[in-house]
């Protein structure tokens, strides 16, 4: 202990106030535990400040502008002008309200908030260095800890982030102007969401992807819908190419050099380069080894079904604990961690974690694909409903995509769903509930759905899987 340190104790120490950490802290406090939440940067973590929320704000703004300017077919004529600075300002307002809300919620639930950077000095002690020079530090002892330090964008060699030319996803969400030409390295979900956004805002977007398609983990027919729509919006795809280096161009822009596996080189003239090749866990500075915790070869902290690390009274939740690196998974894990600490019979027994990609159209998936169900030993049966057969979809002007449901043929249990189409991120919630509840195809098909809604597509898909669809041809 450093001389001058103040030592205080807490029952539950939560490190990192993202969607895993703040949720854990609030639930722990609700359980009557003396809870302290340490945050070094901003309440709400990457999700609220640099991820989910700001990106959705810009996706909505850019989508609205694009819609308005492309609705002649329904008799709407407009030529919207986008004030990027104003849009970002509005987005910041949303973020401020949410992060302020998180802080208020924590305080209202009796969570002690400490601003600073925590590092372990032992199995039951951390030192928290307060921000800025000369702010000092304090030593905190704890009975239980929850590590929820999240993740950050991966940098690739030669493409260190620098706001004026090499953007991280965070930079792309804070830009005050729309670049004329945007080169995006990485065709994953972050790259594709931002590609769609900037294409709609008027940028010429080129996506460079090492693999031969976008959105690697998704099924081909799901990818195709998004890829074709992105191409319609003017996004250029360069598959099988990896970014090798960049250089300043004589015209004031930059040259993005790429290389194929065979050594074939290409160069693209761009004004900004966005690198979106994934996220990595944040554990540096935590001194986990002082607590006896190791990370795996990808840097994640391994945890068990009670979110416990190898050191039982220290839990890890969210991105830092590995896949799925999703905010809602982190929150779920945070609640489990807090309840386990409180002695409740909680465990990570979720059957499926839904995921959404906010491209145009959106993707929503949960549970198993048909192939995964087969691999898991089920005899899957699949039903689909294309949105071009949905009355509601037609009235929105968006009929791309489909809703698909995967079930076990023998028992009828719903195993998974893949939806690509309008509002897929919302529609997937019903399938998630069905999976979690152990509902059968019949349960979903026999549940009356509002007409006319997009959600009817889920019901229709379930009927289709049973060979009883009314609005589609049964297969």
């Amino acid at each position: 202990m450093v001389v001058g340190d103040v030592t205080t104790g807490t029952e539950v120490l939560v490190i990192g106030a993202g969607p895993g950490g703040y949720v854990a802290a609030i639930r722990a406090a609700q359980e009557g535990l003396d809870t302290t939440l340490v945050e070094k940067d901003a309440y709400g973590g990457a999700c609220l400040n640099r991820g989910c929320i700001p990106s959705k704000a810009l996706i909505t703004g850019s989508g609205l502008a694009h819609e308005a300017g492309n609705a002649e077919f329904m008799g709407v004529h407009a030529d919207p002008a986008v004030d990027m600075g104003k849009m970002v300002e509005w987005k910041d307002g949303v973020v401020d309200r949410l992060t302020g809300g998180v802080e208020k919620l924590c305080k209202a639930n009796g969570v002690n908030l400490i601003e600073g950077t925590a590092s372990f000095v032992g199995e039951d002690t951390v030192r928290v260095a307060h921000g800025g020079d000369g702010q000092g530090s304090e030593t905190l002892s704890f009975e239980h800890a929850i590590v929820s330090t999240g993740s950050r964008p991966i940098q690739i060699p030669g493409f260190e982030f620098a706001e004026d030319h090499v953007w991280s996803s965070a930079d792309a969400l804070d830009a005050d102007t729309v670049p004329d030409r945007l080169g995006i390295v990485g065709g994953g979900y972050i790259g594709m969401e931002l590609a769609t956004t900037y294409a709609k805002l008027g940028a010429d977007v080129t996506v460079v992807e090492m693999l031969d398609d976008i959105l690697d983990p998704y099924e081909d027919d799901v990818k195709r819908v998004v890829r074709e729509r992105a191409a319609e919006l003017g996004v250029e795809f360069q598959f099988g190419e990896g970014a090798s280096e960049w250089a300043e161009a004589p015209d004031g822009g930059y040259l993005l050099h790429t290389e194929t596996e065979d050594g074939e080189e290409s160069t693209y003239g761009v004004d900004k380069i966005l690198v979106a090749v994934g996220r990595q866990p944040v554990t540096d500075g935590l001194d986990l080894e002082n607590a006896g915790i190791e990370t795996d070869d990808r840097g994640f902290i391994e945890t068990d079904d009670r979110t416990r690390t190898a050191v039982e009274h220290i839990h890890a939740v969210g991105d830092v604990a590995g896949d799925p690196m999703l905010a809602h998974a982190a929150s779920n894990e945070g609640i489990v961690a807090a309840e386990v600490i409180a002695g409740e019979p909680a465990a990570l027994d979720r059957q499926a974690v839904p995921a959404a990609v906010f491209t145009d159209p959106e993707i929503g998936t949960v549970g198993m694909t048909e192939a995964e169900a087969e691999d898991a030993g089920f005899d899957p049966v699949v039903g689909e409903m294309p949105f071009n057969a949905s009355g509601r979809a037609m009235t929105t002007g968006h009929t791309e995509g489909f809703a698909r449901i995967v079930a076990d043929e023998e028992t009828g249990f719903v195993l998974g769903g893949q939806i690509v189409g309008p509002e897929a991120s919302e529609l997937i919630a019903e399938v998630a509930l069905a999976i979690e509840m152990g509902a059968t195809l019949e349960d979903v098909a026999a549940t009356v759905h509002t007409h006319p809604t997009l959600a009817e597509a889920v019901m229709e898909a379930a009927e289709n899987a049973r060979g009883q669809a009314i609005h589609t041809l049964n297969r």
């Binding site: 019979p345 979720r350 898991a376 509840m437 349960d443």
Partner: protein, 548 residues
């Protein structure tokens, strides 16, 4: 009128479970608050469990001989608000004439909050049960993957989990496709549950027949005991594997009762599965005693499959619980708290041997079996009077040492279940024969595990007579928070050096090796040695004991 459930209360510090030794009431009996309803043996003692209610016993949920985790419902009472309890009791008499070991007769809307007896693993595969049911399963310590679901496609509901936890297959749709999938209302204590119950009983009889047939076709023979001791985890394993614990062969016993391990259950279930298809339905407990008695009892003694043989692995896991764990904790606390020093010396006890030989016939005449122990106890008291710090307790938090005014000597007794230390009180006030009687009685009851908790409390100094089994010296661990313990080696003839005719010679003489452990925080080595000298003086000159 309401039905109240009563859970096995926490009857002592750190007690996780207890064996339900005997029921003192039967269904239909009227009980008053605080009236004892059951005898439960926990850790080291037999305790009576008092009722919390005035009312009529509705149902017993545990069998005699069963290990019951603290917090499990063991009995339910109908608590009369309008005084018609007796009349209602008569209505259900048909189904309650004999104790039902377990039952699903419990309103689904009234969750039982039981302590989990173990942390159930989270199933890795898909589980077709809603989150609420999965959480309940964890709460009740049930592996949700082992629960038979009654919903469409076998979906597991909360009531399925509850039924499984209670070991009742009756509410689970065990029949498969033949049974009409029509919804069946959950039975409640006041409805016509008796019909449901009977249906379940006859169904199970059928299952039993199947199982027996399977066994007859070459499977392992069911042991068919009346009672079997097992840990809750083992009982859970038995439920999951569909094995009746009483049928699992075992060589192990606890307190004279057959004791079955999880390995034995699995080995037996494996053997059953390999010979009988399909496997028997889960059959947690015998429904009635008559049925169990009908199973050939002699099969028990000769049943062949032993736990270790069949499991194929050399290791055997034995639960660290109950008495074993209590001993462990106590030893750990003592050894890690009190810095032990052990002083060794040897008393030459020719005179003591003679004295005892002289007194023995007299004792026998009074029906007393006189050992050396009473002499040693009196000698110790003599020493303690001279060196009161050996008869003390350090209360560190209060910064004081309490020199005890009483001479209560704990006598370590080895029992099948582990070490017990009953206490003989006021040794200074009792005669040799009286002490002999009391020691014999306490030791006998310790071996039968019939000691009451207060008979093991209040000791001020302890004796461990390992010499009864063999050996000379040991390093005994103090019975914390006492300050000292004296270990006795075997009294045997050993070579000693004595003077005869002005010359030293080695001669055989009966000696008693002594091992005195002290808490060095309280007593220094010199005092320990002086105390040992005083005790030896009295042992070597038993006439001095007349003074005590």
């Amino acid at each position: 009128m309401t039905v109240e459930e009563f859970k096995l209360p926490d009857v002592g510090e750190g007690v996780a479970e207890g064996e339900l030794v005997s029921w003192l009431v039967a269904p239909g009996d009227r009980v008053e608050e605080d009236q004892p309803v059951a005898e439960v043996e926990t850790d080291k003692a037999l305790v009576e469990v008092p009722s919390s209610y005035d009312g009529v016993v509705e149902e017993l949920f545990a069998e005699e001989g069963e290990m019951v985790p603290v917090g499990d419902v063991i009995i339910s009472f109908r608590v009369d608000e309008d005084g018609d309890a007796e009349a209602t009791a008569g209505d259900d008499a048909g189904t309650e004439a004999e104790p039902e070991p377990e039952s699903a007769d419990e309103p689904a809307s009234e969750p039982v909050t039981e302590e989990p007896d173990a942390e159930p693993d989270t199933p890795s595969g898909r589980t077709f049960a809603p989150p609420s049911a999965r959480r309940l399963a964890r709460e009740l310590g049930v592996d949700v993957a082992a629960v038979e679901g009654s919903g469409p496609g076998g979906r597991v509901s909360e009531s399925d989990v509850r039924a499984h936890a209670e070991g009742d297959a009756g509410s689970a749709d065990a029949g498969g496709a033949d049974d009409a999938p029509e919804p069946r209302p959950a039975p409640t204590p006041t409805d016509t549950g008796s019909d449901d119950r009977k249906a379940a009983v006859s169904k199970r009889n059928g299952d039993d027949a199947t199982a027996s047939a399977g066994a007859a076709a070459g499977g392992p023979e069911p042991a068919g005991r009346d009672t079997t001791l097992a840990t809750p985890a083992t009982r859970k394993a038995a439920r999951e594997r569909g094995v009746d614990l009483d049928d699992v062969p075992t060589d192990e016993t606890r307190d004279g009762e057959a004791f079955v391990t999880a390995e034995a259950v699995n080995a037996y279930a494996d053997a059953l599965e390999s010979t009988a298809e399909p496997a028997p339905e889960p059959e947690p407990v015998d429904l009635d005693a008559g049925e169990a008695a009908a199973t050939p009892a002699d099969a028990a003694a000769t049943a062949g499959v032993s736990a270790t043989d069949a499991s194929g692995s050399g290791d055997e896991t034995v639960p660290y619980r109950g008495v074993r764990r209590t001993i462990g904790k106590q030893m750990e606390r003592s050894k890690y708290t009190a810095p032990h020093v052990t002083h060794h010396d040897t008393a030459e006890v020719d005179a003591l041997v003679e004295a005892r030989a002289e007194l023995k016939p007299k004792a026998e005449a009074s029906d007393v079996k006189l050992t050396y122990m009473p002499f040693v106890m009196k000698a110790i008291v003599a020493g303690l009077k001279e060196y009161p710090y050996l008869n003390s307790e350090l209360r560190e938090d209060d910064e004081e040492i309490v020199l005890k005014g009483e001479y209560n000597l704990g006598i370590a007794v080895a029992t099948d279940a582990g070490l017990m230390v009953p206490v003989v009180e006021d040794v200074d006030e009792k005669g040799l024969f009286e002490l002999a009687d009391e020691v014999n009685d306490l030791a006998a009851r310790a071996r039968e595990r019939k000691l009451k908790p207060d008979e093991m409390n209040g000791g001020t100094f302890s004796i461990t007579n390992f010499g009864a089994i063999g050996g000379e010296y040991a390093t005994p661990i103090i019975n914390y928070p006492e300050t000292a313990i004296l270990g006795l080696g075997a009294i045997e003839e050993r070579p000693v050096v004595r003077e005869r005719d002005g010359a030293s010679e080695v001669v055989p003489a009966p000696t008693l090796p002594l091992s005195l452990s002290i808490d060095h925080r309280v007593v220094d080595g010199a005092v320990a040695a002086e105390f040992a000298n005083a005790v030896m003086e009295h042992l070597e000159n038993p006439l001095l004991l007349l003074n005590e």
